[in-house]
């Protein structure tokens, strides 16, 4: 402060009165990279934690993985062979690091039931699940932002009530049931889409995309319903802020104020819920992929669990965990992109 006055006091208008101090400003670039680096460390730490938990639960806790996979009726020599194949006779720590090393290098071991490398299996299934999740989240976000903004702009008027009624319905309807209704209407009655299955991406973009439209809509409904409510209440809250009045006093129209000054400030809670929803969406695919007979990751983990294919379960679960953690990391970065105040003052 003293130093500051010494530097800046000389050209002040009133020399007797110290001018207001400039808030200490860290160079913006450095602040952002420190923020990202710290977030990235958290990201790695969470990932290691998740892998340890998965490993402990499936391989170290009492209970013989080979016995679980083969069932209690299995012959002793078959069990021994599988134990050897899975490397169970080696110490847990060694097995853990082998596994992690494999995950990092991409050599994931073999599926017990399919007898193909788990990596191939996962890669193949990701081609369904990732586009499905991306379509669902895009659809739900677009719908939610539009509906939420619309409802907030028409607060306590019929449009608002209409959106809220839709949201209530969307939350109340179970996804799998809505999926069945969609199939009934669009596949059975109208015949616009097939009722299920996935033709792959081999025949070009459109057939694959088309087969994911109904499942993505089914996944998106509940998400959009919740997200539109969050958007609405967040927008309504921001609309009461002083800077919104400032924007209006500058001569901005209602619409322009909403888009330029309200929306971005209202996005923080929306992005938070979106992150949580994306995680939910991944688990949601387990059900929806079953309803639509899609060969996705959700169905893979479901089948692997019922067939006790532990190598697959282990890897897919850790992949799910990694995706969730990555989504959280992404959400944190989005926060910083949206609100400059969060770039310097994290935690």
């Amino acid at each position: 402060m003293l130093l500051w006055t010494a530097i800046h006091g000389s050209h002040g208008i009133a020399a007797a009165i110290p001018r207001e101090p400039i808030a200490v400003q860290i160079a913006a670039g450095a602040g952002v990279s420190v923020f990202l680096f710290r977030r990235f460390l958290t990201f790695l730490g969470t990932l290691v934690g998740a892998s340890v938990v998965v490993f402990l639960v499936l391989e170290v806790l009492p209970g013989d993985p080979a016995l679980i996979m083969l069932g209690t009726e299995a012959q002793a020599d078959t069990l021994a062979a599988l134990r050897k194949k899975l490397g169970l006779e080696r110490p847990p720590l060694e097995r853990y690091f082998d596994w992690i090393g494999g995950l990092v290098t991409g050599s994931l071991g073999m599926s017990h039931t399919y007898s193909v490398p788990v990596a191939n299996l996962i890669l193949e299934r990701l081609q369904v699940t990732v586009p499905l999740a991306a379509m669902a989240i895009t659809l739900s976000t677009a719908l939610a932002l539009a509906l939420g903004l619309y409802a907030a702009a028409r607060h306590n008027r019929p449009g608002d009530y209409g959106v809220m009624a839709f949201a209530q319905l969307g939350i109340a309807i179970p996804g799998f049931w809505f999926a069945i209704l969609l199939v009934l209407l669009f596949a059975v009655v109208l015949g616009w889409f097939s009722a299920g299955g996935f033709p792959g991406w081999g025949d070009g973009f459109w057939p694959g995309f088309k087969s994911l439209i109904l499942p993505a809509s089914a996944l998106a409904l509940a998400q959009a319903a919740i997200l539109s409510r969050v958007t609405r209440s967040s927008v309504l809250e921001v609309m009461r802020e002083d800077y919104v009045r400032t924007a209006r006093a500058k001569g901005l129209t209602r619409r322009r104020t909403l888009i330029r000054h309200v929306l971005r400030n209202a996005l923080i809670p929306v992005v938070t819920i979106m992150g949580l929803q994306l995680s939910n969406l991944l688990t949601g695919t387990i059900i929806i992929e079953s309803v639509f007979h899609l060969p996705g990751l959700g169905r893979l983990v479901f089948q692997a669990i019922s067939q006790r294919d532990l190598p697959v379960v282990k890897d897919v679960v850790v992949l799910f965990a990694a995706m969730v953690v990555a989504i959280n990391f992404l959400v944190d970065m989005l926060y910083a992109a949206i609100d400059p105040r969060l770039r310097l003052h994290d935690d």
Binding site: H11, R19, E20, I22, K250, R254, H261, R264, P340
Partner: protein
């Protein structure tokens, strides 16, 4: 013709407890280049008056009367027309510089916004103009500061940035609603001096809203004292402060803290509280707190009495008020 003439302005607010009258029968006129102060305690309707002039009152509020700006009645103007006037010909600065700037836009962008909208400047020239304005309002290193976020500035600098934003389009009227209340005492003086300089240099008119009599006395040509949503006394500032005709103005004046008053001595107060705007008394709004009130005061709101030279006060007991308090 006055630049701004307010006739019988009223603001009614629909609340769950009934209709509140935030402003009632307010009249004043403002000439080009003139400065006007509105003074009164919290809840007297002064901020609502400012918002009404911009037609930015809350959605549950209704404006009555006429707001003649350059001959055009803003009370009747449509939203599109108002958007052309707000920030362009009538600009406003607010009490809380901490919350009045948008935290997710740089101050440069926020200052450039009205320039691009009302003046049709492109982004580059709006930015250059924003730097010039920041420099004009006394922000050091304006060229660097233009890219600062609001949270990187101190309170005083934010208020300077707000002023730069309000000035950007060279408005005819600057509305300043308690512009220094949220600031440190040392900064208050600088901001007021800055506003005074800018008003003088640009020839715009100023409406300064404050609860601080000292600020009003030093800054503005004419003064309106408000109480219970009405003007209780108005006139040239020098005459209002020399005359102190209305018992409320007298009370307000007696209640101000003074240097050298002596430690341990309590500040004088006006007994009682501001009347509830939803349940206003039939007569003079101040009657319940007035030491001079008589039965007639409680019957109907008193009409303004002309005291000569543009000075008037709405009180039935002006003669009694002239005697020193017993």
């Amino acid at each position: 013709m006055a630049l701004l003439e307010v006739r019988d302005l009223s603001v009614e607010i629909a609340t769950s407890r009934g209709t509140g009258f935030a402003v009632r029968g307010l009249n004043f006129a403002l000439e080009r280049g003139q400065t006007l102060g509105i003074v009164g305690e919290s809840g007297c309707g002064k901020s609502m008056t400012a918002l009404a002039l911009m037609r930015l009152v809350p959605e549950n509020a209704r404006i009555g009367g006429a707001i003649l700006f350059d001959g055009e009645d803003l009370a009747q103007a449509d939203e599109a027309r108002l958007c052309q006037i707000r920030g362009n010909r009538i600009a406003m600065i607010f009490q809380e510089p901490m919350t009045s700037l948008n935290p997710v836009h740089t101050i440069g962008r926020q200052i450039a916004e009205p320039l691009m909208m009302h003046r049709g400047l492109d982004a580059a020239s709006a930015r250059a103009e924003a730097i010039r304005l920041l420099d004009r309002v006394g922000i050091p290193e304006a060229r660097r500061r233009v890219d600062s976020w609001p949270h990187q500035l101190s309170g005083g600098q934010r208020q300077r940035a707000m002023i730069a934003m309000a000035l950007s389009c060279g408005p005819d009227i600057l509305l300043a609603d308690e512009p220094t209340t949220a600031l440190d005492v040392t900064i208050q003086r600088q901001i007021l001096t800055l506003i005074g300089d800018l008003v003088r240099d640009s020839g715009m008119s100023l409406i300064l809203i404050s609860h601080d009599l000292g600020v009003i006395a030093e800054t503005v040509d004419s003064t309106v004292v408000m109480y219970g949503g009405m003007a209780v006394e108005s006139g040239p500032t020098a005459r209002v402060f020399a005359g102190l005709a209305h018992p409320y103005t007298q009370g307000l004046f007696a209640a101000r803290p003074q240097l050298g008053q002596g430690a341990g001595k309590r500040l004088a107060t006006i007994a009682g509280v501001v009347p509830d705007l939803v349940d206003l008394p039939a007569g003079c709004a101040f009657a319940g707190r007035c030491r001079l009130a008589v039965q007639a005061c409680r019957v109907a709101p008193p009409a303004p009495q002309d005291l000569g030279l543009g000075h008037s006060a709405a009180c039935l007991r002006l003669d009694a008020a002239r005697e020193p308090a017993a």
